[in-house]
């Protein structure tokens, strides 16, 4: 049995998780990282992707995690995310709809300004992450 560590996940909308976990995998700006107990002090910025948290009892919870940072300080792990949605919180139908809307918008790329394209791309990316996490 792996050693548990204290994990705290906070977003601007409130605390998402505060308790013991044995493992967390998140997507950073430079790829996936896995943090386990007794990790050295560590800090990185988060990208967009799937996150997996293994609880003390061995169960794995997945979540869509977008933006923010991961910080390990004196054995405590803090995830400060822009958005963190557990799999069961994701509205799959809404994510699908958002994905289709963004794809449709991007299909007429030449009509859009750079800013609109960037906005639609970001939307599409978010929708993709959400539906990927939810459908697994």
């Amino acid at each position: 049995m792996a050693t548990p560590f204290h994990l705290q996940i906070v977003t601007p909308d409130g605390s998402e998780f505060d308790g013991q976990a044995v493992r967390i995998i998140v997507r950073t700006i430079a790829g996936d990282v896995c943090v386990m107990a007794r990790h050295t002090n560590y800090c990185t910025a988060l990208g967009m992707g799937e996150a997996k948290v293994t609880m003390e009892d061995g169960s794995v919870r997945t979540a869509a995690c977008m933006g923010g940072m991961l910080n390990v300080m004196d054995g405590k792990v803090r995830v400060i995310a822009t958005t963190w949605e557990w799999k069961d919180q994701i509205d799959f139908a809404r994510a699908q709809k958002a994905k289709e809307a963004a794809e449709k918008r991007l299909a007429e790329k030449n009509k859009l300004s750079d800013k609109e394209i960037a906005l639609a791309e970001a939307k599409l990316k978010r929708a993709l992450v959400r539906s990927n996490v939810a459908s697994r």
Binding site: V10, G14, Y42, C43, A45, M69, M73
Partner: protein, 281 residues
């Protein structure tokens, strides 16, 4: 003395004003509760974020980030939070008074959030960076990120050399204090003694630069939460006072009304009595 009819009209108008102020007070109290809850929810995020950033900045003196370098101040940007509506006591005017005092004689531009703020700066012909956030009541987390993106871009481009955010701190329902906080350049709290050694991936500068916009958005969001709680608090207090004043006025007015009624009756009796005495004699 005013006639009975005049007083009656006045009583009616005060009563209807009181009804409105009482309703507004109730609305403000329920909104205040929600706003306070939002402040409490966002607090852990904001605290962890600024603590972590200070840690990074303190532990690494070997990198320079454009977000930390102090440059010559040619222009300052103020992000100003005010309300969408008036009738909130001194909430809006206190904010603008502080801004005026703070920006006196300096070259500044503004990013107003809230209808009152936008009106204030456009009416005075001050430079407004964007008017994309006219309603503070409808600002979401993603709007804060959009704001952070805009100001970071402007800062990197050199449009302005210092960024401040002005909001109102919610001390209690009785007192709300307008304050400005400097966002950029980032100045960490100095920690005495030991410095933590932290591993950064991909690198301390990259991590720091990726986190800064995040931090600014977080700061803006928390200031927004505090400000909207303050607005509701100020409005609640103002409306409570208005309701109390109205009920005081009603007391005096009904006293006057009863006096006028009594005087009219006395006069009528005197008239009847003297009339009867006249016909008898």
């Amino acid at each position: 003395m005013a006639s009975m009819k005049d007083i009656k009209l006045r009583i009616k108008s005060v009563q209807s004003t009181m009804q409105i102020t009482r309703a507004m007070k109730l609305v403000a109290s329920s909104r205040l509760r929600r706003a306070q809850q939002r402040v409490t929810e966002s607090r852990p995020y904001h605290e962890t974020l600024s603590a972590t950033l200070s840690d990074i900045a303190n532990s690494n003196s070997d990198f320079t980030s454009m977000y930390m370098q102090k440059r010559e101040i040619k222009k300052k940007l103020y992000i100003v939070f005010a309300g969408d509506r008036g009738l909130a006591g001194g909430y809006n005017s206190n904010m603008f008074r502080m801004i005026e005092a703070e920006t006196k004689g300096e070259s500044c531009c503004f990013l107003p959030v809230g209808k009152k703020a936008l009106e204030y700066f456009t009416k005075r012909g001050r430079e407004v960076v964007t008017d994309a956030f006219p309603l503070v009541g409808e600002i979401s987390v993603s709007d804060c990120f959009e704001m952070a993106r805009i100001v970071c871009k402007g800062y990197v481009n050199g449009d302005y050399d210092e960024i401040h955010v002005a909001g109102t701190v919610f001390k209690s329902v009785m007192s709300q204090i307008p304050v400005t906080t400097q966002l950029l350049p980032f100045t960490p709290k100095q920690v005495e003694g030991h410095r933590e050694v932290i591993l950064y991936e991909p690198g301390s500068a990259e991590t720091f630069n990726a986190i800064i916009p995040e931090y600014i958005a977080g700061m803006i969001y928390s200031v927004m939460c505090e400000s909207s709680a303050s607005e509701q608090g100020a409005r609640r207090m103002a409306m409570e006072n208005a309701t109390n004043n109205a009920s005081d006025m009603l007391d005096t007015l009904s006293l006057h009304y009863n006096r006028a009624r009594q005087a009219a009756i006395t006069q009528e009796i005197t008239e009847i009595v003297s009339g009867a005495a006249g016909s008898e004699g």
